[in-house]
């Protein structure tokens, strides 16, 4: 299969000479296949945004090469075709909306490509349907919520019919409900429209939804693989001062106590199934239904929306609480 994006020995330095010079990327080798959903994590200054800007030639490597569908980003002749193939959504929704109405803004990209007016109208309509913003066609962007603005920004990229969308921390400035809206839109674009997605994020629960997670640290790729594999490296991630999804961490801590759960549990459902399986084994004599019901109900409690909201308000304290609850469940089950 042809590659979407390929980076070979990619290096990038900011600044021209002297003290100002700062190496942001060193020796990155990477290949992204069409239709993949890749999440890139790493804390501030790890080079993830710099890497993203190489994917549509906003930055050109100072050493090595980046190719998009076989086109070298360093060749200016490829520039516009690359930017049409790989769309980009930025962090601040306010600073990427150009026009004074939603419809005009979504039309901005196709207009730049020289698409005929009737076709632009059709694309704008389709793109807004895609992000579920049709009823806001004539709204002024500054009156929309953060999540809505970000969806308009995504529609603006979708209207250009890209094969890949790179999103640079699109949810960083949004509230929890805005984050959910945007994540739903992104996963839909990937699953239903087959668009390759590269998502740069700080939020582990977002990274978990990807097919592949890349972890960056001081300009290098340190981990690259399925989220299950990457997040089972709890100690490595901790050493990089990165978070692990809550359930994954919980499972890890329980395993240290000898719980015998499988590695790389990513979602509450998986955790519930695992814990049910484990308790089922230990209480093989009892009915499977019974063994399953108890821990499930407790984990479901964790999925209660009201509790979720509280969790977002006071993540730290609730995390402890959640750990306590599930640990009790574990003891009760076993």
């Amino acid at each position: 299969m042809e590659e979407m994006i390929r980076a070979e020995n990619l290096g990038y330095q900011y600044g021209s000479a002297g003290d100002m010079r700062h190496t942001a990327l060193r020796g990155i080798n990477l290949s992204i296949r069409p239709g993949e959903f890749v999440a890139i994590i790493g804390h501030n200054g790890s080079g993830k945004s710099t890497l993203a800007k190489h994917f549509n030639a906003l930055l050109v490597p100072t050493s090595g090469t980046v190719t998009v569908k076989g086109m070298k980003t360093s060749d200016p002749r490829n520039l516009w075709r690359i930017r049409q193939t790989v769309g980009m959504v930025f962090q601040n929704p306010d600073n990427q909306i150009v026009a004074t109405t939603v419809e005009e803004d979504v039309a901005f990209g196709p207009e730049n490509l020289g698409v005929p007016p009737a076709e632009i109208r059709r694309r704008v309509r389709e793109a807004l349907e895609c992000v579920d913003m049709v009823e806001y066609v004539r709204h002024a962007p500054h009156l929309l919520s953060g999540g809505q603005k970000q969806r308009v920004a995504i529609a603006g990229v979708v209207a250009m019919r890209p094969e890949c969308i790179v999103l640079d921390e699109p949810t960083a400035m949004l509230d929890p409900s805005g984050r959910q809206e945007v994540m739903r839109t992104i996963t839909r674009l990937n699953r239903d429209e087959g668009i390759t997605v590269v998502l740069i994020t700080h939020f582990m629960n977002e990274a978990v939804q990807a097919d592949r997670v890349i972890v960056m640290e001081s300009g290098r790729i340190v981990l690259d693989g399925h989220p299950r594999k990457v997040f089972s490296e709890v100690e490595t991630l901790r050493a990089l001062r990165l978070d692990v999804p809550q359930v994954t961490e919980l499972a890890y801590e329980l395993n240290k106590e000898g719980a015998g759960l499988p590695d790389g549990i990513l979602t509450v459902e998986e955790f519930a199934d695992a814990i049910a399986g484990a308790s089922h084994e230990s209480r093989a004599m009892e009915g499977a239904e019974d063994g399953r019901a108890h821990p499930m109900s407790i984990v479901r409690e964790g999925a209660d929306p009201a509790r979720d909201r509280r969790a977002k308000n006071s993540e730290g304290s609730d995390r402890a609480g959640c750990r306590g609850r599930a640990a009790t469940a574990w003891c009760g089950g076993g």
């Binding site: 150009v98 004074t100 730049n112 490509l113 698409v115 007016p117 704008v124 500054h142 250009m160």
Partner: protein
């Protein structure tokens, strides 16, 4: 504090005047302005005034709102009238000390003031009945033949659009910075003019810094969306001159030119 601000002074509506092509409206406004400088009789001003009032009625604009546009002009009007009143010679109307006010002066002063008022009214009908976006598109389209002469028509229009887009964003930000500075003890309200101006420094510096950062990010976002100037660019909204536009243009021009020629 900036909550009730409206951008420009556009009053949305779907009257005949609102629906006219912006270029036609700009054209008619220019004709009105030209005619105003050509007529010199009272009857001529009267007819132009009639034409303008007709347009206001056709556009369903509230008269109060249209007249408000003249208010900032009041000082200039008084000055113009006064200067013309006393600086002319002719049949004496009245005297104030050494100053003589002739009939001719009174007439000229009135005519000049009328001219100013009508100028403002004509242009405010344009801006009240045309949305900023339409106006921008119209200006871009009118200027585009001048591109061969090096007039950056598209760039000017794009600058206007972006300015319009960012006015509310920057106002919101100003409000936020003001509150942040007030929370740290900044005082924007008391003191004389100089002190007040000085107190604006901690507001303007962060505002400018952030505006430049926004500009930088916006430029990058525009480039990522393949923006490369006006060349080869199409527009979703096409301006189309229809039958009613042609009729309006010809009708108004004929009427106004007749006024200019005969009066």
């Amino acid at each position: 504090m900036f909550g009730n601000l409206t951008i420009g002074q556009y009053i949305p509506g779907d009257s005949l005047v609102h629906k006219l092509d912006p270029r036609v409206k700009i054209f008619i406004t220019l004709v009105v302005i030209t005619v105003l400088f050509l007529v010199s009789t009272m009857a001529g001003y009267g007819l132009v005034l009639l034409f303008i009032l007709g347009a206001v009625l056709l556009a369903h604009l509230p008269m109060r709102f249209v007249m408000r546009g003249v208010r900032p002009l009041l000082f200039i009007l008084v000055l113009t009238f006064g200067l013309h009143l006393f600086m002319n010679e002719g049949r004496v109307l009245f005297r104030v000390g050494p100053l003589v006010a002739p009939y001719e002066g009174a007439f000229k002063g009135f005519a000049m003031s009328m001219r100013l008022v009508l100028l403002v009214l004509a242009t405010s009908i344009l801006t009240l009945s045309t949305s900023p976006i339409e106006l921008t598109d119209g200006i871009e389209s009118i200027l585009s033949p001048a591109r061969v002469l090096g007039v950056p028509a598209h760039e000017l229009a794009m600058m206007m659009t972006i300015a319009l887009r960012f006015i509310p964003t920057l106002l919101e930000e100003t409000d936020k910075i003001m509150k942040a500075q007030m929370a740290r003890g900044a005082d924007f309200e008391t003191g004389n003019v100089v002190q007040k101006a000085k107190s604006l420094v901690p507001l303007l510096v962060p505002l400018f810094v952030s505006a430049f950062r926004r500009a930088d990010e916006l430029a990058m976002a525009m480039e990522a969306r393949c923006y490369r100037g006006g060349q080869g660019r199409t527009r979703m909204k096409q301006l189309r001159v229809g039958a009613k536009d042609i009729l309006a243009a010809i009708g108004s021009t004929a009427a106004l030119v007749a006024v200019a020629v005969y009066l």
